[in-house]
Structure formats: C-alpha cells, structure tokens
Symmetry: C2
Subunit: 282 residues, 2 copies
C-alpha cells in the first residue's frame, strides 16, 4: 500500500508535469501561427506564483496569444481548515475541517470563433477521506460537430480503459453540471465530469486522472490545429463575444469551484482566469 | 386613508411616467451629441414588452447610443406566489407567499469613460405588509470627484426633506451593499440604498420615492452633460472595459435583485440588461 505522503508527492509531480507539457504544446501551436492572425506575434506563457494565507499556494501561467487569445494553466497545492459553513458539504471534513488539495486547471478562450473554447481540471483532495475529481469539456461557438465527436470519443476511450460504464455516467454528470438553469440551455457541448472518485485502487484512479489530462492535451491540440485556419468575419467574432457572456454567467452564478474559491479566500486572479478576455452583453 | 388598490395604481402610474421622462431626457442628450462620437448616429430607445408566466409583466426600454453605449430603463408590475424557499426572507410573505411588486430600474453604461456609470431603482412591494425600496448610485471609471459630490449632495437634499438622519443611514447602506467582498473593494462611489421603507405615512414615503427618481434623472443628466465632451484615449477605454468586469462580478455574485429574478423565473433580458455592453478580463 502507498502511504498518503507518497500519494501527495506523486499527484503534485504529475500536475506540475502536465502543466509543463500543456504549456509547451500550446506555445508550439502559437509558433505555427494561424491564417487570420499571422500579423500578430506568438504569445508566451507568463508565470505568476501566489501563496495562500491559510497555507500553500499555486503557479498560474497565463498566455495572451494570437491563437490562444487567453489561456490559463494553473496548478495549486493548498491546505488548511475549512470554515464551519463548508464542512458539511465536503466529504470527510465534518470533524475538524482539515483539508489538503492539489490540482490543475486549464481554461482556453481562442481568438478564432471556429476553435471551441475548452476547460479541463483534475484534482486530488484529502480530508479524513481522499479522492480525485475533475473533468474536461468543450464550448464551441460556431458548430463544430466533427471536433466535438472526436473529443467525446477520445474521452470515452479513457473512461472505458478505467471502468466499464463510467463514460455515460461521467458524460451525463458533465451535461447536468454545465447547464444554465436561468436560460434553460447547456454551457457547451459537454465532455466528462466526475467527483469523489475513490475506487479503492489508488493506482488505477491516478492512472485515469493522468490519462484524462494527457488525452485532453492531445485531443484539444488536434482540434485547435484542425480549426485554427478557418476564416471568420466580424459577425462570427461578435457572436463569439456574446456567447462568452454565457460562460461568465455560468462561472459566476453556478460554478462550485469558482464560488468555493471566492468564499474561502482563494487567489482572485487564479480563480477568475477562467473569465473570457472580451465579452459583450449588447 | 388610501386603500391598497389606489396605492398600487398611483405607484404604477408614477413608474411609467418616470420611465417616459428618463427616456425622453436621455434621448435629448443623445441628440446633442458628444465630441468624440460625433460621427455616430444618435440612439433611440427600443421597447420590448414581456409577460411573466406566474402573473404580470414589464416594459423594457433599451438604447444603444453614441453617448449612452447601453442604457436600460425598465418598468414591471408582477404578482404571484413566492416559492417556499424565498418566503422566509421576504417580510410578510411567510403565511401564503403572495406578493405584488411594481418598480422601475435604470442602468447606464456610457461610451465615454469619464461619464460615470449609473444605476437607479425604486419599487413598491406588497405581501401581507407593504413597503418601498430602492436607491441610486454612481460607478465612475475615471476619477469624477466633482460629479460624485454633486450627486451625493442632490440625494442628501431629497433625504433631508424626507426624514432627518436618513441620508447617512441610506448612504452607509449603499456603501455596505455595493461592495465586492472577494476583492475587498467597493463597486463604485456609492449613493443611497434603502429597503422596507414604511414610515406609516404612505404619502410621505411615496413623495420620497418620486423625489429620488426625479433627482436621479436631473442630477445624472447634468453629470452626463458636464462630462460627455471630455477627451478619452484607448487606455481609458481599456480600463473602462476592465472595470466593467467588476460590475458584472458584483451583479452575478451578490446582487439580490439579479439572483432573486433569475431564481424566480423573471425575464432574463430585463434582469440582465444591467450587464455592460463590452467587458474585458485580460
């Protein structure tokens, strides 16, 4: 059996490695350029470290590029005590509220309205219990049926490798979660979402988490390369900025991670890096 | 004593008249034009009526102009039954949840970063109790000390005429309410805010409400005229769009009216007309 300290260490190492790999991948694509923004310079990731008053901190990497208009790739390792109001809603935290959490969070808002926006997050959380959570999903602006199908089928393979029946379950979880109740519409085209993942086989769970991260990186990079030279016009761009308003509405009205972070004194810039660079509510 | 039906009627008539007067005022200013947007056409208000499934409806008037980049002036008269989860938080609604509400709501996002954004809302609400609520406040983008002082002193006169000591109380209420806890910063430069207003003298309360509306209209129109020809540059505009992000954060994370409307099946367009036309989170 692996002791908890080793699990923590391996999780942290993995999240850092994935952050490095995703940033390198995205900067490679930036270098390749795109048809309609070829006059712009390729972006690079800027790193900002932050520390949390209650314990721990994070590494935020942000790029404002010519393909990736705004992309954040953040890792964090935090620990401390949950305030009383949150203890009852977090598994295993009722007694003393102590927690430890490490994770990676990726949000991409591309320049080109034909490249779907994307989100991926995986985390390892320890209270008196321990579990993984996370997911990945696409938010296309203009129809992207082929790309969405590819993304879903790539994630399905990862789920099938992990646990029979997990794909439809995690897919439905995603659809249910990323839904704007006040507009009665989904945020995007879905993907997978899961929480409280603890099968009893930590190595298998961890492998699944690593595969979700790798597959997101590879699948989404392919989607970006396949769509980045599509031609867009002013109307596409306007529509994109309006649709991005829905993304803001979801994250500020419903997203548990965002609201949890804001209410527990998390790093504002890291939490709100998910918000799109330019948005319209006409 | 005035019977309830007459109060309703007089409140509705007033909110409609104020809506008409504010729209006319703002369109007059649009006609006058402004130095830096003189090549644009003057905007006009477009009216959209909506009905509420549970009962009642509203008249939403929206203008996208050359001075008023986006301004909404909405009135509504709604009635029905509050869902159980809301009854305990609304005075006099515990028993059967029946309510009636009429009001006007104004939100202005100007083109020129030197014109403060503005908000005004007044309402008359009836459950087993009845009361007025509302307020008005400014959100300057660039420093606007003189304008802010004038706005405050105009509102102070209205309060002083109504009730001794009400101005500092309503001013503090406003400062406490329009505050972004997650950033530890105020939304803007304040104004007044009040709720559950029922002095026992309905006529005096109603006169106060009318004076708040009229004074907002006159005071803010003067502010717009005094600042609309100020010269701004790209940096001012960029800063404006970033600051507007705070406005969005406040309205979606904290504003009771917004959250209440979204959760009770209000009209989405009318509720979210408060959101600024163009916003950045760089």
């Amino acid at each position: 059996m692996i002791v908890l300290e080793e699990k923590k260490q391996r999780a942290i190492e993995w999240f850092n490695l994935l952050q490095k790999n995703i940033c390198e991948n995205f900067m490679e694509i930036e270098e390749e350029g795109a048809y309609q923004t070829s006059d712009m310079e390729a972006g690079i990731f800027i790193e900002k470290k932050w520390t949390r008053e209650g314990g721990g901190g994070g590494k935020m990497r942000l790029m404002n590029g010519r393909i990736f208009e705004k992309v954040g790739v953040n890792t964090s390792v935090v620990h401390g005590e949950l305030s009383r109001e949150f203890r009852s809603s977090i598994p295993g935290a009722k007694k003393d509220g102590k927690f430890w959490a490490a994770g990676i969070s990726v949000v991409v808002h591309p320049q080109n309205p034909f490249i779907p926006a994307a989100h991926m997050n995986t985390r390892f959380i320890i209270t008196s219990k321990s579990w993984f959570g996370g997911g990945g999903d696409l938010t296309p602006i203009r129809p992207a049926g082929k790309q969405v199908r590819k993304f879903h089928s790539d994630l399905q393979k990862v789920c099938d490798n992990y646990q029979k029946g997990s794909y439809p379950k995690f897919k439905k979880w995603c659809d249910d979660y990323f839904f704007l109740k006040h507009r009665n519409e989904p945020r995007g085209a879905g993907g997978i979402f899961f929480d409280n993942l603890d099968s009893g086989e930590w190595n298998a769970d961890f492998e699944f988490i690593r595969n979700v991260g790798d597959t997101f990186k590879n699948s989404y990079s392919q989607i970006v390369r396949a769509t980045k030279d599509n031609i867009w016009n002013e109307a596409d761009r306007e529509y994109q900025e309006v649709r991005r308003g829905r993304y803001v509405e979801f994250n500020l009205l419903y997203d548990r991670g965002t609201l949890f972070g804001l209410k527990t004194g998390g790093n504002i810039d890291a939490i709100l890096m998910s918000l799109p660079p330019r948005v319209r509510w006409p």
